[in-house]
Each structure stands twice: as C-alpha cells, then as structure tokens.
Symmetry: C2
Subunit: 231 residues, 2 copies
Amino acid sequence: MYLRIARTLEGEIRDQHNAGDWLPSEHALADRFGVNRHTLRRAVDELVAAGVLQRRHGRGTMVIDPTITYPISSSTRFTANLTDLGRQHTSDLLVSETISANDDVRAALGLPRRGMKVVHLMILRSVDETPVILADSYLPIARFANLVEHYRGGSLHSALKQHYGVSPRRSWSRITSELPDDGDASLLRMARNRPLLRVRSLNVDPDDDGPVEYVCSRFRGDAVQLEITPS
Amino acid sequence: MYLRIARTLEGEIRDQHNAGDWLPSEHALADRFGVNRHTLRRAVDELVAAGVLQRRHGRGTMVIDPTITYPISSSTRFTANLTDLGRQHTSDLLVSETISANDDVRAALGLPRRGMKVVHLMILRSVDETPVILADSYLPIARFANLVEHYRGGSLHSALKQHYGVSPRRSWSRITSELPDDGDASLLRMARNRPLLRVRSLNVDPDDDGPVEYVCSRFRGDAVQLEITPS
DNA sequence: TAGTGGTCTAGACCACCTC
DNA sequence: AGGTGGTCTAGACCACTAC
C-alpha cells in the first residue's frame, strides 16, 4: 500500500509540482489517502530515499528538483573522456587559496616535507547551467608562484600554458564511488543518497614527468559517464 | 533512543559477530532493550542503511562483513587495474547460457540484426571469500561455438585462448555509478543504498580489432578503486 | 506448524518552526 | 499558540522460510 501511495505521489509531484514546492502535511495526505499517518510516512520515506522529497522538521516536506533526479534517458547523460577532464566546459572558480598540503596531496605531488604550500583551486564545471563536475586542484606553489593572481576562472590549463609554459599530461587516474557529503550534494544539485563518482588524478609535466597538478573531481554518478579509450 | 540502540548494536556486532552470523530476532532484541518492536526495527533500519546488517524475510537479520563495509583506511581497498579486469581473482560461474542479444549488446558487439545469439556468462569474482566483482560477459555465438561447454569456470580468457586462439585486448571502457538492484546487492553482499561502480567495456581481437566480448562489470564502489594508467 | 521479518492501524507525546 | 515533522508504544495480521 505504501508503495502504491509513493508511486501515486511521485506521479503527482512530477506533473504538478516544481522544485521548492511544499507538500501538504502528512496528516492531510494521510486523510486524503485514507491511511494511517505512519503508512503515509512510509510512502514519503520512499520518495525521500529516492531523492524526490526533502523533509524539514517543523516546516514541512519539500519537492527537490525532479528534472535532475531522474535522468532516465541515457541520451541526457554527459560523457566525459578521461583525457579531456579539466579542460572543457564552462567553469566557475569557487575557491582559490594557498594552503598547506595534507598527506594525500603531498603523496600525490611527491612533496618531501609536511606542511609544504600548495595552491588549492575549487572549480565547478557546468554544461547548460547544470553543474556536472566539482573539482579540487592542488598545484605546488614552488612551481606556480602567483597562480592565485594569474588564474581567475576559465580554462586552468590555458592559464598554466600561458603563464608557466606547461601543458600537463595525465599520468594516472583512480576512480571510486561514494555518497556525497552535504556540500558536494548541494553544489552538484544532487540528492545525498545518489552515488557520486570520484576521480583522483595526477597531471605531470610532459617534459620531465614531474607532478604538477593533483585533481580530485566529483561527478554526479547518474549524469556522467566516463569513457576510457587507449591513448 | 533508536539511535542509542543502533550504536550499541553496532558495537556488539563489530566485537562479537562475524559476517554471516544471524542476529537474534527482532522480538528478542526488543525485549532485551525494553522497547517496542517498532523502535527496535528503527534501530536495525539504521544499521541496514549503514550496510552492517541485511534482512531476510522469514529467516532473520544477518551480519554483513564489517571489514569491507567500513574501508576507512584506504589500505583496505582493493585496487583493480582496468587492463587486468576479467583476468584475475578466483571466480564462480553463476550463469552460462545462450540468449538473444539485446540492443545494448548488439550495439557493442556490432551485431547486424536483432535477435542474434550470444553466449551470456555471469561471473562472480572474489578475493578471500569476499565478492568483489560481478560481471556479465556477452560473446557472439558465431565465433565462440560451444563456449558454454568449453568454459565451466576459472579464467575465461585462458579458455578463450586455449579453445579459440584469441587473447582479447581492451578497446574501451565506460564507467558510471549507480545504486544496485536487489540481486546485485545480494550477490556482492553490499547494502542497497551504497554506490555501485559499473564498468562496461569492449574487448576486441588484437589481430583484426573485431569485437569479441562485451562485459558489464559491477563493483562495490566503496571497496574497489579503479586505477587507470597509460598503457 | 512455528518462527521470522513486513506492514498497517491507533493513539500519544515531543521537538521544531512560524506567527 | 498552533501546525509541522519525529519518535515511541501497543496490538494485529500477513508473507516468507524452515523443519
């Protein structure tokens, strides 16, 4: 019964509601479907788990953007070629700062000592107003002095080439899948219970194979397909 | 209260239980904690969602391997190199049959007509009794006649080489992330709300680049890390 | 047939938010 | 103060699994 109610509700939401709308109260919905409030809650549980609804204690139950939550047609998927990651799409620079490298970054970039400084860039790449990739880039400050001043947005790799004469080449990529934290889910406009593709990769200087950029990218797992072909 | 019970239960499970153990019944646990069965169920819900427990209707509630469920240390992760996929680990042949190719398989293998026959193999690869990869392989029957008889388990690519003289080479791989369905979650002993890495790839004959095998592999996203390095 | 988890009902009280 | 979602209780019946 709760599954039937969930399907009914889901259809109505897709037809009649937009993101941000508030649902009638659980009490009202339970009355309307002629079931106990617990049963109605169980139905809403399903849609919360599916990423369609979001509960707010004391306020109500809100509709989340349904158009992104259900990219059922595979034609709506983005395809990202691994060799092109970090070089395409419109991008917004969210963070640009100099920080001390943590252990992961140090290991990837081969920095010898703790606490060495790196430039941290957080970039959100979008296609047609839809956020697709959220990427943290880490570059050693020793090699890219003043990068924070030189790069203000757009193509990072163009800036690297223009100001430092480097055209990084991908060395390796490691792919895992996780659930997003609140911040990532919000920026990528995805439900917290939908999977996230995480790609960590290292870019090196093609001349000397020295590490120049460590990137941790996050994709909406349901919206992006990574394609790997032999180089 | 249900959160307190969940934490208590989780601690006991990690200390005293191994994967495959059955928990006491909900009725017994509710009695023991002095709460209503619904409250106890709500606590168990948490651990099911966290991937610690798995319910089986009519049988009981089972403990899932906690060492894989919480791979907090990255050293406990499996690493699979994309070029090695399908050639390693111990494997169980779950399904071996001849079927009509669906559209996805036809497109990948370049089969001209609808309804052409392919061999479908479903293989579960495990490491130390832990299921890691679940793979569906599709091979054109025209090229691999009697494969169902020739291959009974073990290394598929050894069998292909021995009986058909082919050593397939990876042509491309496409990676997405999804939530598992019931069957996949059960076979991979993972929670339904944890992410799944899905890798679709095509293997070709190195001699003529003709498609010989289309593979759809599923990994536990939290237990496996795909590594990609230039060949 | 007995035991297990799955669902539904009915009612109560609490915590949170808005007015 | 009144409405919303969050939790707990009590009891019932069903569906599935094992013996």
